[in-house]
Symmetry: C2
Subunit: 480 residues, 2 copies
């Protein structure tokens, strides 16, 4: 650590106090690695403020010292958005101590919650009030609300409830100069001026620090019906989705697809997992309907499945008869991620294409990878209704190329196919530091320039999460 760095860390500690500032290298290290442990880094200091006021003080001081601020939630992001990349010039700012639910109003169907609240804890509190917060994803026991908003988190319920963005009614943000922008709101409709809060949603902290969020909530779905279905092809899965979208109307809350390899991978992740279905088919769909009140969700699912059988789309299937059986079905979906993780370092992607082209894209992309990397294994699964596929590639251990080389090549091959489909390299994970170059190579010059203008307008000294999303020339004099 250089002298200049040391001086800045000391100044932080002196001004902000030992409770907020940690310079213990071991502690910092824990906050400076990615979710899978593929990337490790460090930072000048770890700041853990307890209030908006403390975040404001910390950010203001960092601006004065010219230090980059890397905001962090549960650090389960998959695009390196929260991993510092310039250890002597950046601090990690964890929001984990801002963990209060400020209000929960069942009569308004709204809640206001601080950035550091863990998603699952929030969902539980909301559920205890007879309501529902629909963002649902594998990392929900770890990820935090501020991160969900800053990455515009997706997950398995997007097809019904939208991304996190669509649930946000208001935000509180600490701006790069330390000032607090209070846009919290319980209003469901508000067309006053430009909708500034939209800029900070999905911004991965490059424009400021989200410290609190107002959300809209739904009535708790007291009926949930879950089925796992076997089909012949991904084309059939997509056709089944279209039928379900119309027949089940707005009562479908999840429609996931998985390959046959899901079962073996899930068993690798969860060895004692009971397989809910014969794993010998080529494609699987996980369908969930849910609702509250007078609708009969179980009957709806039964009717829908009857129709799907009549249309010849479904080869085999199981309907959960209990919450435990439903959980078991979801464990296949979750276990396959764990199984992939146990295979070691691999390429994780988060691609989207138009729904009508999903099957063609996956077929073409998998074929291209297999041609380029014989022996590598493609695992394609994801959110059908959103046209979002996680097409992962597990390298071939016996190949001459290293794992990293194979990952790089697989990514290049996939992105080439994706470009022909006008797809997105990041459907739900964000750009972070991982995908910024691939994005920059694809964005039009008008688009890139406008993004830079916005960044410079709000963060002229580029101290907010520098290196994330953008590679800007930084003017440390602070003058515009």
């Amino acid at each position: 650590m250089g002298r200049q760095g040391l001086g800045a860390a000391e100044q932080l500690r002196a001004a902000l106090g030992d409770d907020m500032v940690s310079t213990d290298a071991a502690v910092i290290a824990r906050y400076c690695q990615d979710w899978h442990g593929d990337v490790t880094s460090s930072a000048l200091a770890l700041l853990r403020p307890r209030s908006t006021q403390e975040v404001s003080q910390a950010v203001r001081l960092c601006a004065e010292l010219g230090l980059g601020v890397v905001p962090q939630g549960g650090r389960s992001g998959l695009a390196l958005g929260a991993v510092p990349d310039a250890p002597e010039a950046q601090v990690a700012l964890s929001l984990e101590r801002m963990d209060r639910i400020r209000s929960l109003n069942a009569r308004d169907f709204t809640a206001t919650v601080e950035a550091g609240v863990v998603l699952e804890a929030f969902k539980t509190k909301v559920s205890e009030a007879g309501l529902y917060f629909p963002v649902a994803l594998g990392a929900q026991g770890t990820c935090q609300i501020g991160g969900n908003v800053s990455t515009n988190a997706g997950g398995v319920n997007v097809l019904r409830y939208g991304m996190t963005r669509e649930l946000v009614l208001g935000l509180e943000v600490v701006l790069p100069d330390g000032r607090v922008l209070d846009l919290l709101s319980r209003l469901r409709k508000d067309n006053r001026s430009l909708d500034l809060k939209q800029l900070f949603i999905g911004a991965e902290g490059v424009l400021g620090v989200v410290t609190a969020v107002s959300f809209k909530l739904m009535p708790a779905p007291d009926q949930v019906a879950t089925a796992l279905l076997a089909l012949d092809t991904l084309d059939d899965v997509i056709e089944l989705y279209r039928v379900a979208r119309r027949q089940c109307c707005d009562l479908m809350s999840a429609f996931e697809f998985m390959p046959a390899s899901a079962f073996a991978l899930a068993r690798e992740g969860i060895p004692d997992l009971a397989l809910p279905l014969d794993p010998a088919h080529r494609a699987y769909a996980l369908v969930e309907l849910s609702g509250s009140g007078l609708v009969d969700i179980e009957a709806l699912l039964a009717q829908f499945l009857e129709l799907a059988m009549e249309e010849g789309l479904v080869r085999d299937g199981v309907v959960a008869q209990s919450k435990a059986q439903a959980r078991n079905i979801w464990l296949v979906r979750e276990g396959m991620n764990e199984g992939q993780a146990r295979r070691g370092k691999h390429l994780r992607t988060d691609l989207s294409v138009p729904l009508s082209e999903l099957a063609a894209f996956v077929a073409e992309a998998e074929a291209a990878v297999e041609r380029a990397l014989p022996g590598a294994v493609c695992v394609s699964y994801g959110h059908v209704g959103d046209g979002n596929v996680h097409l992962n590639v597990l390298p071939n251990a016996a190949a001459a190329e290293t794992v990293d080389q194979q990952i790089d090549r697989a990514k290049t091959v996939l992105n080439e196919v994706l470009d022909r489909y006008d797809g997105s390299i990041s459907a739900e994970h964000g750009l972070g530091r991982l995908k910024k170059a691939d994005f920059a190579a694809r964005a039009s010059s008008v688009h890139s320039e406008l993004l830079e203008r916005i960044k410079r307008a709000i963060d002229p000294a580029s101290t907010m999460n520098p290196g994330c999303q953008f590679d800007l020339r930084v003017d440390r004099t602070g003058a515009e």
Copy 2:
């Protein structure tokens, strides 16, 4: 018209051609008044481009000439966002000739449509493809898609499908310097970088000209059930909404409230209107459920109404037995607007408060108006699920104060009450030129400054819809 103005108009005509440019005062006048005819204005010229390329040429030339550009759709806006306010320094830019549906993809549930397409025409085309575009409002036979997006239009189906913003997948925008920003997309999920399109939605043209939009679509609801219910109080209406929200789950597409005076006003607007219900109750709710496929919407409404009767919330009611009867019920809601218009100039508002405070707010606000303006008539109606009330005030013709004085005072009185409820002065209509001062008086300095920074970052010379939303000092040298 000054010499300088004439010169600019001639330059426009010479460069853009007679087909695009009109300087006929009578034609211009038609494009320079508000929806109700309360405000009339003029402009240097009327530009009617036929393509994105022509919009680009026009905007670029106006930037070079230092002319303000006021984009227009169907001119049914209620906040003067499309009415020029500096006739010699501004042109009106009508998008009405850009009226193509570029694509409609039933397999993707998406469409891409130009800004000048009339909302109703788009809804019809979408419906012919077995799909549904949910934005629905009184002016839908006139308003255009570009205006819907630029005002983030609301309407009667927001509680189920969200504002226009939530339906937008992508945009094509001509920037203030004439360059085209192409963010059109058929992707349902895309977390690449800052979501720039959000800035232009609801921006009322102050950052650029929306020329085309990609939307997500829904399956057509082939079942619709409509009821008009009589209740004792607005409190009961709101309680009924809460019951309906839970019991009917996500299958409720409209829940409007109306006062008893709705019937008399509707009769003034539509003299031969058959009243679907005894008009002697104090509060009314218009409830619509809809869906497609296997759900039984009629049965759901019947079950819900039974429950509502049991809970003692509903005093009287009628369920439409045909499309004609449903239309008749909606005509009360639409006719009351027409009836108000026939009473002459009056205060129209578009307020929102948290749902739980809607009844208290309306009671307090109406009492305050009646105290301040004896003999004036309050007409409160709107979108319960959104906490959005149009609390209109019809002046007392026999009062000593003029109509304009009464309107001003009623607005001041209402806004004072609204401020105590942390409400919005514009839930769905936008700020335009009508509400910018009231907004500026209420926004925090941090908020205002950030809005200005965004405006200056994208439109440094402030040529895009000058005078709308902002009152900025304009630097005509174009230097930042």
